[in-house]
């Protein structure tokens, strides 16, 4: 196996613990992946060594410790696969393929990070590389807010934590020109709304991490198309999952 490409290996579970209601944090011992992965990249995790479910689950790296040889992921129990994964215990083995995809284009300066729901999952890793950052997050209820990095500016739709309303409401007072890079991650509709609120003059600084169902994660099945602003589709797993906002055709994002 070449040193530059993704590695497929069995990783020992260091811990799998509830991070919030229905949200888990899993830590895996995967030294080769930990030494290679970049913020915004992802891995394909096999929930079970058996045939059920038939495909893996794509999860973005939440943190990475190259010296300890470990990586962590934050995930919602959304279906059968993540339910099985959430029952992992220390010492279990999980097959993991990674690192995959293109991550954030990291740059010096000041970052604005905007998350919707569990889109916050990858920001601790990005934050660890940023000189200075403001993090904003929106969730439906208070669920998930405990996963946000300290200092995150919060909005909840039910008003239980932070401002009542959507994350786009938090953007109204943002001094856009004070940020060198803007990172957005969350459900497609949320990202479309954030991009729509962004002044055109700073749109070139906006990167988005797209979500998609994935068949393979390593660029061959064509199962994760992202509409391109130049027509046709890009591949979320290979061309992304992080894209420049101006490269995505938001009109065709549902």
């Amino acid at each position: 196996m070449s040193s530059s490409g993704p590695v497929d290996s069995d990783a020992r579970v260091i811990a799998c613990i509830p991070a919030d209601e229905g949200i888990f944090r899993i830590a895996l011992e995967a030294p080769r992946i930990a030494s290679a992965c970049r913020p915004g990249q992802f891995a394909m995790l096999e929930p079970s060594p058996g045939a059920f479910p038939v495909s893996r689950r794509p999860l973005t790296f939440s943190s990475c410790d190259p010296e300890a040889g470990s990586v962590t992921f934050l995930f919602d129990v959304a279906g059968a696969g993540t339910s099985i994964l959430s029952r992992s215990v220390e010492g279990d083995s999980v097959r993991i393929l990674g690192p995959l995809g293109r991550g954030w284009e990291t740059a010096p300066g000041r970052w604005l990070m905007v998350a919707g729901g569990l889109g916050i999952a990858g920001f601790p890793f990005l934050l660890s590389t940023a000189d200075e950052a403001v993090v904003m997050a929106g969730t439906r209820t208070g669920r998930g807010t405990s996963c946000c990095p300290p200092g995150t500016v919060l909005a909840t739709e039910d008003g239980s934590v932070g401002m009542r309303g959507l994350v786009t409401g938090l953007l109204e007072d943002v001094e856009w020109d004070s940020f060198d890079s803007i990172a957005v991650c969350g459900p497609s509709a949320m990202m479309r709304a954030v991009v729509a609120r962004t002044p055109p003059r700073v749109l070139g600084r906006v990167q988005v991490s797209m979500e998609s169902r994935m068949g393979c994660g390593w660029g061959v099945c064509g199962g994760c198309p992202v509409p391109s602003s130049r027509g046709g589709f890009m591949s979320c797993c290979k061309d992304g999952p992080v894209f420049r906002a101006c490269d995505v055709d938001w009109e065709r994002i549902s």
Partner: protein
């Protein structure tokens, strides 16, 4: 052939192969990603994603759904099209460590002929897989495969344009696969691929709407192995040309079972998407199984 008494194939179409495991079209691109990972070593042949005369963006998303027990896909033959395959893909694939078989899909008999004629000009590919069975496109696709007369016409059109070996990839979705296989054989095919995905659908009962944008898709699953074994068995008894099995392979024993059913080569697809190292894992597992017999 029985792999237990006769051993494993060491060649196919006269090409030396390391074993019986090949890669199914649509699950390995043109082999470049796996080769970059160093994972083609135990692969007999790489069957490319479908090449169509014009570039195709593919179907609207969502294109894929994991039901847990199987995978529904509706990719829609997304590919760069004939011109770019000739100018960009085939030159890049020239250094591939295993032979490439080009899967070709068209909407008319004459287009099959002209597309293969154009592909003859470029590349050192080992042969063609004629796709008359895609469940995910409106025109062409499995509409050809369900009709033995149409299978014969397409096969003849391709045969006239090339001396490289041809396999015809058949559909399990309607029609008589044995008749279709005989039609391919009588029209000059050098093998048949049995078979493409099974037409399937998943609805969200809350909304009554399908989860895939196009509605129906192709279903693949290790649970379908007995359906493929039956079809390989039936077709294998009806034709003299080799049968390439495709579908349901998950474990080393599955490969041996398909060989016992009459297959000469066994493609892996959905299992490969999950584990790019599957061919090597199967090869090691097969050695272990046969060692104990």
């Amino acid at each position: 052939m029985n792999p237990v008494t006769e051993g494993l194939p060491d060649s196919f179409w006269g090409i030396p192969v390391p074993g019986p495991v090949a890669l199914a079209s649509g699950t390995c691109g043109f082999g470049l990603e796996l080769d970059a990972m160093g994972l083609l070593e135990d692969v007999a042949l790489v069957f490319s994603k479908a090449v169509t005369p014009e570039p195709r963006d593919g179907n609207a998303p969502p294109r894929i759904h994991d039901t847990g027990y199987g995978l529904l896909n509706s990719i829609g033959l997304a590919n760069p099209g004939l011109d770019r395959v000739l100018s960009e893909v085939l030159p890049a694939a020239a250094g591939l460590s295993r032979p490439l078989v080009l899967n070709v899909a068209c909407e008319s008999v004459s287009s099959f002929g002209s597309t293969v004629a154009a592909l003859e000009a470029g590349g050192s590919h080992a042969g063609y897989e004629v796709n008359v069975s895609c469940p995910n496109v409106e025109a062409g696709g499995m509409a050809f495969g369900v009709d033995p007369a149409a299978v014969a016409s397409v096969t003849r059109a391709v045969r006239l344009e090339t001396r490289r070996p041809i396999t015809v990839k058949l559909t399990p979705n309607g029609g008589d696969m044995v008749s279709a296989a005989k039609a391919a054989e009588d029209s000059g095919a050098d093998a048949v691929t049995v078979c493409n995905t099974f037409l399937g659908m998943k609805l969200d009962w809350r909304t009554g709407r399908p989860v895939l944008a196009r509605g129906v898709g192709g279903y693949s699953s290790p649970a379908l192995l007995p359906l493929v074994v039956a079809r390989v068995w039936q077709v294998g008894r009806a034709v003299r040309i080799p049968v390439i099995a495709s579908g349901g392979v998950w474990e080393p024993g599955d490969v041996l079972e398909l060989l016992a059913a009459g297959a000469s080569l066994v493609q892996v697809g959905t299992g490969l998407l999950r584990r790019p190292s599957l061919p090597s894992e199967l090869a090691a597992g097969i050695r272990e199984l046969l060692c104990g017999t």
